[in-house]
Subunit: 349 residues, 2 copies
């Protein structure tokens, strides 16, 4: 008689032994029936699957994880949910990972929980990999993961010298393209609204942007920078700081990401009655769908999210747990300009 464990009043746990008993086979057989490609007669498998269906049996992943050392879970550490870009990223990871029969353990960061805390909390779950969309990872934590054979890959950033590599868009190149576009439209004075100063993404975009401008002979003093904390509100604040600066309104403003560019545009128009692009040109970076809405029609550079997500998953080596964990990998994926209405003039075809 099958062993039964009461869970709550009236509820009972069904195991592979119960299924085996009903199907008249050994417990090993039911295990095999559920594992594709295992050595089992088609007929036996049918019998087992039938019995399982009758009992509403579902194999216990916790138990199988314990033996196989694979949980089919990947952890995603989400930094900044204020930027819709990351919502789109989460959705894309969800789609891709679920299609591969993997599942996501999410960690959302906040004042009470930093990246390192999140890592310490995910370690006990024996996840198959971790994806990080936040900055500030300590070398020690990367070590904790690697010691356990858990690959960690950074999404949209890299952290020099931590041994964690990342997948990212070619940010310097994107910055350069924006500079190019502004220049072609006749801009001569500039402002940048920068994001998280600790992340590499903002820095790289800003550097590419500046370099191109300086190459074109723009004096550094004609390129100002304001902090926008990677949020809509931050973008608006940056504009206020800029206007408070007293100087002339620049010809062009580069929001290091779309959401800041959107905040900036609204402040420019609503607070200061300025027209975009007639009075000031604006550009962003990311190409979030929100930036394409009628009030913004933001010219920007698109991050190839789908390709970035797939590259990230590939680096996790989910199907080959024994693969060496790569170390110093870094291959930026090129984004591309999306021309809309915040930079005037003819769009290159």
């Amino acid at each position: 008689m099958p062993k039964k464990n009461k869970i709550r009043e009236g509820s009972i746990r069904t195991t592979s032994f119960d299924v085996a008993a009903l199907a008249g086979v050994s417990q090993s057989a039911v295990s095999r029936a559920f594992k594709p490609g295992s050595s089992i007669a088609a007929e036996t498998r049918e019998k087992v699957l039938d019995a399982a269906r009758k009992l509403n049996y579902v194999p216990n992943s916790i138990a199988s994880s314990l033996t196989t050392h694979r949980s089919n879970i990947v952890a995603i550490i989400l930094g900044d949910l204020n930027n819709p870009f990351y919502t789109h990223v989460l959705e894309t990871f969800g789609r891709e990972l679920q299609a591969r029969n993997r599942h996501i353990l999410v960690f959302t960061l906040n004042e009470d929980m930093g990246t390192d805390d999140a890592i310490m909390r995910l370690l006990p779950y024996q996840v198959d990999g971790v994806i990080l969309t936040s900055a500030q990872l300590s070398t020690r934590m990367v070590g904790m993961c690697h010691d356990r054979g858990i690959p960690v890959v950074l999404f949209n950033r890299y952290i020099p010298n931590t041994g964690a590599f990342g997948v990212r868009c070619d940010n310097p190149e994107g910055g350069r393209e924006i500079a190019e576009a502004f220049l072609a439209a006749g801009a001569r004075t500039f402002a940048m609204i920068t994001g998280d100063p600790k992340g590499t993404t903002s820095k790289d975009r800003a550097t590419g942007f500046m370099d191109r401008l300086v190459d074109a002979g723009i004096p550094r003093s004609d390129i100002k920078a304001y902090e926008g904390s990677s949020s809509y509100e931050g973008g608006a604040e940056a504009v206020k700081a800029m206007m408070a600066d007293g100087a002339k309104v620049p010809d062009a403003i580069f929001g290091i990401n779309d959401i800041m560019a959107m905040g900036a545009m609204d402040a420019l128009r609503i607070e200061y009655g300025l027209k975009v692009p007639d009075d000031v040109m604006v550009a962003g970076f990311d190409d979030i769908p929100e930036g394409a809405r009628p009030p913004y029609q933001l010219t920007t550079v698109r991050q190839p999210i789908n390709r970035m997500v797939r590259a990230t998953i590939d680096l996790l080596n989910l199907d080959d747990p024994h693969a060496e964990i790569d170390l110093a990998h870094d291959c930026p994926i090129k984004g591309h300009m999306v021309w809309r209405n915040t930079i005037p003039g003819p769009k290159p075809e």
Copy 2:
């Protein structure tokens, strides 16, 4: 000598036996050292914790879940990430659940994965509970969860007769308050932009809204409804459908949620040159932070997210696995009006 398993080249698995060996105690002792409130001498615990630290040992949750039948994981099924409301919801659940030492397995729905599929995928993980923010759950799936002692609670909706209860805002009352506000501002003709027709949320808000208007003597024919599919784009489309209807622009438009109201406002202004609230009043529902941005300044009713999230977690009975799973629970939490600029006139204090 402690047993060692190679994971990847060079990486090794550390278990409680290794820690026990180093600390010179039994394996049971190390288990106890990590469980708060267990019967162990302070001194022994120290020894164990020291050894664990030296070995970078972290207890294996997979193994402990297998014995305790608690994974400390709750599943969240995310329906519509196009509505920022759910991003805020996810963030709030993250904060609250992580503070209680619980973690989140997220499932994002898409064409390839419906709610029922998500449930089938979460069952093997023996989650401690499931939170559902999407509609369309079958009775059978609720049964699958309940049979296993897994509570499921619906967030922001209910599904009549599934045995799954939900936490929600008092939607009919919110709809009524919006109607009231419009009426007080002098509106006499109305349009509603409705959301997911399968969900109860949209229906309830619309019903409350209509009922109040009808009570006030507004003829039903002066209350039109357009589908907005709960998205920004849908809100804009609804306005276009409304304008194409030929009839006079209504005095007031109720966006069943903020994101649709935002889409509607932009279409009204940009496509048709209408002023809000001078030409048309608008109101939303949810009070997402995006609706408070300068271009919108949306008057709306706030969903008490924090309270709703906490109520949801309470219903999960995470700390009392043997609690009966409640069945026909339903207690709407009252939202409240947030007065901004899309309905003219004096705001009640």
